[in-house]
């Protein structure tokens, strides 16, 4: 792949040598973690292809689109409303935040006790290895946690096109008003960037594209309720990760194809794991590509992951946007209402999230919950303690894991995860 895209990468200003090293690590990780699984759906072949071309063909598509005037907007968070971006015929892509890179450089700009996800975004920028960030016409930072919002002040000095979106911290009428104002401001920024005036018909189309994508992952989630579960948690996580990169219509088709295949499989009781394999619900911080560490440990320790209560998972995709309003303002309200439901831990208080964890535990027939906290992610680590206490009060076995992107603690984590799974048998 290197030779085919070398010119493209070098025109984007990537550090070819470092980028090559990254691709090698990524490729090997994918091989070891994904290709070693057995009984995968044939439809996952598409996702193998997407991953093998994640910095290649997909980036070329974006650049070809740019030549025809399709703007690229990069984002770090599910609060950036994709509907508005699609309405302007622009593309929204998730930026790379799932691996450690150029840490020595990063720690010159950020304190060591910053979470891996934020450090990773900086590492990809400073190491010049994220073609998405370099392709983006606009990079949207959003004021979620303190770590991110302060880091954007520093990121602003590294990139010429950062747009910062403010976000509410409470689910109050004032909070909703802030979100509405910020989405209106964002719509104007997208209109200015693309030169497209977003009317009702365009917004409806944007909503429809994104809703279809969400419906496809809902369908996949439904199938995971079966025992034996027809798809591994690793594969389902990958689908949820690719959600942020791929062309939405092609992605929707590909997920629906996998669902067709798995529906057939379910009829013949052909699972990704044997029947009665302990079932785990993951809950907590998002896992961006290629952060597969914890799911890999869980699924090589004798359990299957049946759901992700996460922004890369159900928290991010649970709700659809109502497209029934007749006016632009009505549709914008629907987009605000939809996103205002996201139960991110930056909100205080945040009771919906705990309720969703319990609902998902029941819906997917999980035997236990593993809470995943990224070290130094204050909002989720803070919530993990009351979440664990409440789940245990309800008789739900819970394991709290705090870790980062490093691999030094894999053996210890494996012991803890295995011991937890032993208690579920």
């Amino acid at each position: 792949m290197s030779e085919t895209y070398e010119q493209m990468w070098s025109e984007l200003g990537l550090d070819l040598e470092a980028h090559d090293a990254l691709l090698q690590v990524l490729g090997k990780g994918y091989q070891d973690i994904y290709m070693s699984q057995s009984g995968r759906a044939a439809g996952m072949e598409y996702f193998n292809f997407v991953m093998s071309e994640v910095h290649g063909l997909r980036v070329k598509e974006l650049l070809d689109g740019k030549k025809e005037g399709r703007k690229v907007i990069g984002s770090f968070c599910v609060f950036v409303p994709e509907e508005i971006v699609r309405a302007a015929d622009a593309v929204l892509v998730g930026l790379c935040t799932g691996a450690d890179f150029a840490m020595e450089e990063v720690e010159k700009l950020l304190p060591r006790n910053t979470c891996s996800l934020i450090k990773s975004a900086f590492g990809f920028k400073l190491g010049k290895v994220c073609p998405y960030m370099e392709s983006a016409d606009l990079i949207v930072g959003e004021n979620t946690c303190d770590g991110k919002k302060k880091a954007y002040e520093t990121l602003d000095k590294l990139v010429p096109n950062l747009y910062v979106m403010d976000l509410p911290q409470t689910k109050s009428p004032e909070g909703r008003a802030l979100l509405k104002a910020e989405y209106e401001r964002f719509k104007k920024a997208v209109e200015k960037l693309t030169g497209v005036e977003i009317d009702g018909a365009r917004l409806k189309r944007g909503i429809e594209i994104v809703n279809n994508k969400r419906k496809a992952v809902h369908r996949l989630a439904q199938l995971r309720k079966a025992d034996p579960v027809p798809i591994s948690g690793l594969d389902a996580l990958l689908v949820n990760q690719v959600y942020f990169y791929d062309d939405p219509i092609r992605f929707t088709d590909s997920v629906n194809k996998i669902c067709d295949e798995l529906e057939e499989r379910a009829a013949t009781v052909n699972g990704a794991f044997p029947e009665n394999t302990p079932r785990i619900l993951l809950s907590g911080c998002p896992m961006a590509v290629p952060n597969w560490k914890l799911p890999w440990i869980v699924e090589t320790s004798g359990a299957a992951i049946v759901g992700e209560e996460s922004c890369v998972g159900e928290r991010g995709t649970r709700n659809l946007t109502d497209a029934s309003a007749a006016t632009v303002d009505g549709l914008m309200d629907a987009i605000v209402d939809r996103h205002f439901l996201v139960d991110c831990a930056i909100f205080t208080p945040n009771p919906d999230r705990l309720n969703h964890v319990k609902e998902m535990k029941d819906a997917y027939g999980a035997d236990g919950v593993i809470h995943y906290g990224l070290q130094f992610c204050q909002p989720y680590q803070m919530e993990s303690i009351p979440v664990e206490a409440d789940l245990e009060n309800h008789g739900i076995p819970t394991l709290r894991i705090d870790t980062d992107y490093g691999m030094e603690d894999v053996e210890q984590l494996k012991t803890r995860v295995e011991a937890f799974i032993e208690t579920l048998r």
């Binding site: 870790t403 603690d409 210890q412 984590l413 012991t415 803890r416 295995e418 011991a419 032993e422 208690t423």
Partner: protein
């Protein structure tokens, strides 16, 4: 049947073979893990017979790969072993060479909840060994030396490196070495107790793992916790015993 349990810890390897029909222990061995744990495992297993072998401890995967045996985690192994020795046990504290585990058990001996230190070996056997070296004595003597020390000094840091520099400062101030050693023991106990509290223990506590051989740690632990504390005669063999017991259970289930 002959049921064998091997516990490959970071410092020592332990083997227990039980004759389940005669209800007696036929093999009971321990050796250093060394830098080549697999060879040591093969050596300790040499000459033993078994119908089913279960491996536990951090090196369990190594033995599994070589001998194709089953594995359980040391958390389950210590719970099983402690429950066999003391059926009324409700919680287990296992302090080994590089890990500390606090386990709370249900009445039937099942693991209800556990806590374990993460990547750092603060407050484990390694910590004590490292500190004993600073006092130029073998770790086996460090506990009784510390017991002679007076109360009153405090080591605040849990980190091995920082704790050592704290100890060095205390030495430089002319404090009694035994009292400093005692303070280091107190810091291990404080850390373990806070881990224990997170699993809400009640009832009888069994203290297992190699560090339970340290008299000072045991004494201080008894002062710190409100529940009864028992130390098995061979505290570091509890994991291997648990693994052997699991082999009996697994064979019965098959």
């Amino acid at each position: 049947m002959l049921a064998a349990g091997i516990d490959i810890g970071s410092r020592t390897i332990k083997l227990v073979v039980l004759d389940s029909d005669a209800d007696r222990t036929v093999t009971f061995r321990k050796s250093e893990t060394t830098y080549n744990p697999l060879d040591e495992c093969l050596r300790i297993l040499d000459g033993s017979r078994w119908d089913l072998l279960i491996a536990t401890g951090y090196g369990r995967g190594l033995v599994q790969k070589r001998l194709g045996c089953g594995t359980i985690t040391e958390i389950q192994a210590h719970a099983l072993g402690a429950h066999k020795l003391f059926p009324e046990v409700r919680s287990v504290l296992d302090i080994g060479g590089q890990d500390t585990k606090a386990i709370s058990l249900a009445e039937d001996g099942r693991v209800r909840k556990f806590e374990m230190n993460d990547r750092c070996a603060a407050g484990t056997g390694k910590f004590l060994e490292f500190m004993a070296a600073g006092f130029q004595m073998p770790v086996e003597r460090f506990g009784s030396f510390a017991l002679q020390g007076k109360e009153g000094l405090t080591i605040n840091s849990m980190c091995t490196v920082f704790a050592e520099s704290e100890a060095t400062s205390l030495m430089a101030q002319g404090n009694d070495p035994a009292a400093i050693a005692r303070a280091l023991h107190v810091s291990v106990v404080k850390r373990s107790v806070s881990m224990l509290k997170r699993v809400s223990p009640n009832g009888l506590l069994v203290f297992s793992g190699g560090v339970a051989r340290n008299r000072c740690i045991v004494e201080l632990m008894k002062q710190e916790i409100s529940s009864d504390l028992l130390v098995p005669e061979e505290p570091d063999m509890v994991g291997a015993l648990g693994a052997a017991l699991h082999a009996i259970g697994r064979s019965a289930a098959e």
